[in-house]
Symmetry: C2
Subunit: 427 residues, 2 copies
C-alpha cells in the first residue's frame, strides 16, 4: 500500500469512529485545538518566518506574501473563528424526517457526516485551521494539502491541531497533512477512501482538480456574475450596487463581470455610472449600443464569458427583462446575479427565471458569502446543483441516513395484504 | 447541431420555463396527462401488442414478457399513480431558510427544480409515465430512453403524455423520447444541457452509464445488504427477518445477500433458520464456523462481495458487534443493513456505526423502498452520499437557490464598519 493510500485508509477509519463520537468530545476537541495553537504559537511563527524568507527569496508578489503571513493577528483571527464555530449548533444527528410507517415501525432520517474529506487549498495558512475545524465540527475526517509556499507553517499548524485533538480523545489519523503535488494526484484516485474533494484556489487549479478526480468535487471554477439595471430601477441605487459589485474586491468570484442595462434607461444611467467610477479606474468594454452613450472599449464576443477578476467590466444593453435573463442563463456561471428594479413583478420574474445559486434583488453580488449569509465559516461556494449549492457551511459537509426501527416486521405481511402502511408523518 | 443535442437544448430551455410556471398549471397538466392516457388507450394497447409480438418472436423470457405487457390493469396502476402524485405536496418553492442579514436585507433559501433530467430505464413501459410525471411534479424537463423491447409502447405513451401536457400549456419540448443506444451515448455527453442522469436497470447497465457520463449520475450499482443476528437477538424474530430479507423478492437490490451471526447464538439460531428455509430453497454458503453447525456450501472470499440477486445467501459468524459493523462497512454497498437484537445499546451502536443509506433495527431489509417509506413514487435508490441518499422521491429531484432582497445594500458599508450584520434567523 502506498503512503497516501495508507493515510487515506487511516482517515477513512477515523472518520467512521468520528461519526460515532459524542458531540461533547468534538466540542471539547475544538477547545483543545484552540489551546494547542496558542501554546505552540512560537513554533508556528518561527515556521512561518521560514516560509516568508523562502518566499521573499523566490520573489513572491507582495499580496501573496501578505496572505502567507501568520502572526499574532492571524492567530487571533483563527482562535476567534474556533470560538465562533463552537457556538454554532451541531449539524450532526438532526432528525429531518420522522414517519410512522405502521404501528411500531418508525422511520427517521438523521444527518450524519460525509466521512472523509480531501481538501486542497492555496497559500493562506489560516485556511488550514479553518477547514480542519469545520471538518471536525461536522464529524468528518480530513486530508489537507496546502500551498507549497506555506509548507513549514502548515506542518506546524498540523502538529498543533493533531495534538489538541489527541488530548480530547479524537481517533488517531482523523487529520492528515499532505505536502506535495504528487501526493494530491495520488489522493485524487482514492475514490474508495475519500467521499468528497473540495478544491479552493484559482479557476485553472479548480478546473484541473475537477478534470482529474473520479471522486465527487464540490466547488466552482468560474464566477461570472451579472448586475442587471432594469427600466424601473432607482438609478442611484443601481450605481451604488454596480460600483460595489465590481470594485469592492474585484479579485473574487462574487464580483460582477458584466453589467446589463435596459435600453430605456441607458441614456440616464450610463453617464451617471461612468461618473461614479472616476475614483475607481474600471475599464469598460461595451457593445455598440453602450458606446453610443459613453466612451468604452469595444466588447468582443469573448467578453460575455470572461471572468476578469480585475478592474474590467463588460457592459451590454438589453431590450427587456427576458433578454437579460436569457443572457445570464447562457453566459453566466450560475453563481450570483442581481437585478436592480423598483418593480416587484419584474424582480420576481428575474428571481424565478435566473438559474443561479444566488439570485439577488437591489443588492450587491458581493454579499454571496458564507460569513455574510450567517453560516459562520464556509468551505467554499458551489455552482453545482447537486448536493450543496451557493455558499457552503457545515450543512454542506453532512449527508443523512434513514433509520427504520421495528419489532420483527417483514415485507411479506404487506405484500400479502395482512398489514397496511399508515404513513403518518410525525415530523 | 446533432439531433440529440437539439432535443437536449429544447428540453433545457423548456426546463427553465417549467421552473417559472405556476403550480396550478403543473397540477392541471398531471390531470390532462391522465385523461390523455385514457383517451389514447387503444392506440397504446395496440402499440404494446406489436412489442409483445416482436418480443415473443425473439423468445424473450416470460418474466420479461410479463413486465413488458401494458393492458387495462397497468393503465389503471399508472393513472392511480398520477392521482396519488397529484395529492403529494408541491416540492418546489418551499422556503427552507430565512434570515435577516440586517435591517431590510432578507436572505431566503427556496427549493427549485434541478432543470433537465436524463433518465434511462429498462423494459417496463409503465416506468415511462411514472418517471415523466415525477419530473413534471418537481418542475423538471425530462429526456427518456426506455428499453428497446418497449419501443412502440413508449412511443405511444410519449405521444399521450406530450398531448396532455400541451393541453395544459406546458412549454413545448419539456419531454423528449429517445429510441436508440446511440442516442443515449450522445446524451451522456450533453453536460451543458442535462443536470442529472438517472439510470434504472441491471448492475452492469448502471455501471456502464456511471463510467461513460461526465454528467452527475444518481443511482446505485450494487445492493449488497446484510442482516446481522446479534447475541441478544430474539431468535424467532431473527428467523422471520432473515427469511423475508432473503426470499420475499430475491431479484432486487434491497434483498439480503449476507447473513452475519454472533458466534454465541450460532448453535441456537442456524438450525432454526435452516429449518425455516425448508419451503424456500435457498443455497447457503458458509464459513468454517457456520459449517460446524449446519450443512452449507463452503463460502469463497468472493462470496462476501457478491450480489446474488437469487436464492443464495452467504453466512458468516462474527465474534462481536464491531466485527459485524466492520464487515458491513468493508464488504457492503452502503445500501441497507439490518440488526436483530433486543439490546437497545447494541442497536444504537449498529445504527450509528454502519455507514449505509438505510440502517434498520429488527426489520427486514426489504422495507428500503420509496413507496414503503411513504414518499409516494420513487425514481430510484441512491448509494451516493452526495445530494440524495437512499430511496429518492420528489425531494431528490430538487435543488435550492438563495434569494437576497435589499434596498441598495452594498458590501463596502460592512467592510468599512458603517453597518453590522444582525443575522437573525427568521426560519
Amino acid at each position: 500500500m502506498g503512503e497516501i493510500r495508507k493515510k487515506g485508509a487511516q482517515a477513512k477509519a477515523a472518520g467512521l469512529k468520528l461519526a460515532a463520537l459524542d458531540y461533547e468530545t468534538r466540542q471539547n476537541a475544538l477547545k483543545e485545538i484552540k489551546d494547542a495553537l496558542i501554546e505552540d504559537k512560537n513554533a508556528i511563527f518561527a515556521a512561518n518566518e521560514e516560509d516568508l524568507k523562502r518566499a521573499e527569496e523566490e520573489n513572491l508578489a507582495s499580496p501573496l506574501l501578505k496572505r502567507l503571513k501568520f502572526d499574532e493577528h492571524k492567530l487571533k483571527d483563527v482562535t476567534d473563528g474556533i470560538d465562533s464555530l463552537i457556538t454554532l449548533e451541531n449539524p450532526i444527528g438532526k432528525t429531518t424526517l420522522e414517519t410512522e410507517l405502521d404501528d411500531g415501525l418508525i422511520l427517521t432520517r438523521k444527518t450524519v457526516p460525509l466521512g472523509n474529506l480531501g481538501i486542497i487549498f492555496e497559500s493562506r495558512p489560516d485556511a488550514f485551521v479553518q477547514i480542519s475545524t469545520l471538518a471536525l465540527k461536522s464529524g468528518n475526517a480530513v486530508m489537507l494539502k496546502g500551498g507549497r509556499e506555506a509548507l513549514s507553517t502548515n506542518r506546524a499548524l498540523f502538529e498543533a491541531v493533531r495534538k489538541g485533538g489527541a488530548r480530547a480523545g479524537l481517533p488517531d489519523g482523523w487529520i492528515q497533512n499532505l505536502e506535495s503535488r504528487e501526493e494530491v494526484n495520488e489522493m485524487l484516485a482514492l475514490d474508495d477512501l475519500i467521499d468528497l474533494i473540495i478544491p479552493r484556489g484559482s479557476n485553472a487549479f479548480v478546473r484541473y482538480i475537477m478534470d482529474h478526480s473520479i471522486i465527487p468535487v464540490m466547488g466552482h471554477a468560474d464566477g461570472i456574475c451579472h448586475v442587471y439595471v432594469d427600466k424601473d430601477a432607482d438609478l442611484d441605487k443601481a450605481v451604488r450596487i454596480a460600483v460595489d459589485s465590481k470594485t469592492q474586491y474585484p479579485a473574487v468570484c462574487n464580483a460582477a463581470e458584466t453589467l446589463l442595462v435596459h435600453e430605456d434607461v441607458k441614456d440616464a444611467f450610463l453617464p451617471k455610472f461612468k461618473d461614479a467610477l472616476r475614483e475607481k479606474p474600471v475599464e469598460l468594454r461595451g457593445d455598440a449600443s453602450v458606446r453610443e452613450v459613453i466612451d468604452a472599449e469595444e466588447a468582443s464576443p469573448e467578453d460575455w464569458s470572461t471572468e476578469y477578476l480585475d478592474y474590467i467590466l463588460s457592459v451590454k444593453t438589453v431590450k427587456d427583462l427576458q433578454e437579460a435573463v436569457d443572457h445570464i442563463n447562457h453566459f453566466g456561471s450560475h453563481h450570483t446575479d442581481s437585478i436592480v428594479t423598483e418593480n416587484r413583478e419584474t424582480a420576481d420574474r428575474f428571481l424565478t427565471g435566473v438559474d443561479s445559486a444566488c439570485c439577488f434583488h437591489n443588492t450587491s453580488t458581493r454579499f454571496s458569502d458564507g460569513y455574510r449569509f450567517g453560516f459562520g465559516a464556509e468551505v467554499g461556494i458551489s455552482t453545482s446543483k447537486l448536493h450543496a449549492r451557493g455558499p457552503v457551511g457545515l450543512e454542506g459537509l453532512t449527508t443523512y441516513k434513514y433509520i427504520l426501527e421495528g419489532n420483527g416486521d417483514i415485507v411479506a405481511d404487506y405484500a400479502d395484504g395482512k398489514k397496511h402502511f399508515t404513513h403518518k408523518r410525525i415530523k
